[in-house]
């Protein structure tokens, strides 16, 4: 194999790559916040009494978790205009990522809520907590603290999966890579560099989530988050 690697060429395109990194970060952070918020709401609906709400949430979670993210993006970006909803590629990516992440976080947080023992809630009642206080301090926060590592793994997976958004022409990091590759013809070098950037982003995101865990839930949860690898949600 006689091939000379030329990484120097890529430096000329640092603005494109930086713009791509910035877009990936923005999309990931926005979808994590929105998806997690939706997940908390849906998981709460899910844990109420059986009824139409529970059936709808279950159906939503199952449909999203059993279809590929790429196809979900296609439906949002190419399919929605047929129904009269036209969105830009970036908005479509954000919608797709939020819908996807919401389903996974619902499932994870639901598992957390189910692990809260009934006696905890009774103890809350005995202490004279209002229903809202019980919900917040006895159910949701401990539930999230329990599943926080799994939740974070899902967030990291979502950040990595955002690379797929380049297929609907969202100008994030993978799209920047494709652009630089088409300009410089240094395919292998470009993708090695971009892969390393993704790796760094994943490690940075994991570290940041561990810090947030430390701030929200204390040291024990944060340590589990820092060492946990992305778990596979089944």
């Amino acid at each position: 194999m006689s091939y000379t690697f030329q990484f120097g060429v890529i430096a000329q395109y640092q603005n494109e790559i930086l713009a791509g990194i910035w877009m990936t970060i923005k999309l990931s952070v926005a979808s994590i916040i929105l998806g997690c918020a939706c997940g908390i709401v849906l998981a709460s609906v899910r844990s109420m009494k059986p009824g139409i709400g529970r059936i709808l949430v279950d159906a939503y979670v199952e449909i999203i978790r059993n279809t590929p993210f790429l196809v979900q993006l296609f439906i949002v970006y190419f399919g929605m205009p047929g129904l009269g909803i036209r969105v830009s590629a970036v908005t479509a990516a954000l919608i797709g990522m939020t819908i996807n992440l919401a389903a996974y976080s619902t499932e994870i947080i639901r598992a957390g809520i189910e692990s809260i023992h009934k006696s905890q809630i009774e103890a809350g009642e005995a202490l004279g907590f209002t229903r809202l206080q019980i919900y917040r301090h006895v159910i949701i926060m401990p539930a999230i603290a329990k599943v926080y590592p799994a939740l974070c793994s899902q967030f990291v997976l979502m950040m990595l999966a955002s690379s797929v958004c380049s297929a609907i022409s969202t100008n994030e990091l993978a799209a920047s890579a494709a652009f630089v590759e088409s300009q410089s013809f240094r395919s292998f070098e470009v993708y090695i560099v971009v892969t390393l950037i993704y790796l760094a982003l994943a490690l940075a995101l994991r570290g940041m989530l561990a810090m947030i865990g430390l701030w929200l839930f204390g040291r024990r949860v944060a340590r589990r988050t820092a060492v946990a690898l992305p778990e596979v949600q089944t």
Binding site: I63, R65, T67, Q72, V156, V194, L199, L203, V232
Partner: protein
């Protein structure tokens, strides 16, 4: 120009493309299973360096997007002077992807076999190979079933990413049909439904295995 509409023959094309999704999934799971098995063994080995190398491999694979693995093997293989059909590039990268995740799943299963099992088999003067073969792996296999089947669902879904390098599987077939019919909503809903038909039974199977495993261990 007359546009085609999304009818039976188009749906038939999607179904035949689903076959390639299944083929790719089987390649990824068997290839990734073999590689992942040895990495899981290395990850639980008594040699410190083997453990570090295996852990680094897992960390890297789980820290980069599948799309990047795909591009790297696609361009990497052609750099090496190999002109290979997309199926090989797609199969190779899905194998690498699956190996990184399966190794980590199985490491967890091997380590969840109680320590006493190791001690008991050691006291029976078993060699390490015998310990793995007769004591540890049969138990780890049972524990690993639910999560392995669950991961198969992820693999089926992630094969859709190979459409980006032009491998014609279900998602790519959907794009092709869409280009001919311009009925994106119908086409992609049909594509999603086909994925669902494959993935949902697997998800349910994984859940059922999980329940059965728990029922046994709590008896």
């Amino acid at each position: 120009m007359i546009l085609r509409t999304f009818g039976f023959s188009e749906f038939g094309f999607l179904v035949s493309a689903l076959l390639w999704t299944v083929v790719l999934t089987i390649i990824a799971l068997s290839g990734g299973g073999i590689v992942g098995f040895f990495i899981a063994l290395a990850r639980t080995s008594t040699h410190k360096w083997l453990r570090i190398v295996a852990a680094t491999y897992i960390q890297i694979i789980q820290g980069i997007p599948v799309l990047m693995i795909l591009f790297l093997s696609y361009y990497g293989l052609s750099l090496a002077g190999l002109q290979l059909p997309p199926l090989v590039a797609a199969g190779a990268s899905m194998t690498i992807y699956a190996s990184g995740y399966l190794a980590e799943i199985w490491r967890g299963c091997i380590q969840s076999v109680p320590k006493q099992q190791w001690e008991a088999s050691e006291s029976l003067a078993m060699t390490r190979t015998q310990q793995y073969r007769y004591v540890i792996l049969p138990q780890a296999l049972r524990i690993s079933l639910p999560s392995t089947v669950g991961f198969a669902v992820q693999v089926v879904k992630n094969t859709s990413i190979t459409s980006i390098i032009g491998f014609v599987e279900l998602a790519r077939a959907g794009q092709l049909i869409n280009n001919a019919t311009f009925q994106p909503f119908r086409v992609f809903i049909a594509v999603a439904a086909l994925y669902f038909v494959v993935c949902y039974p697997l998800s349910q199977l994984s859940r059922w295995l999980e329940r059965r495993l728990h029922a046994r261990s709590h008896r």
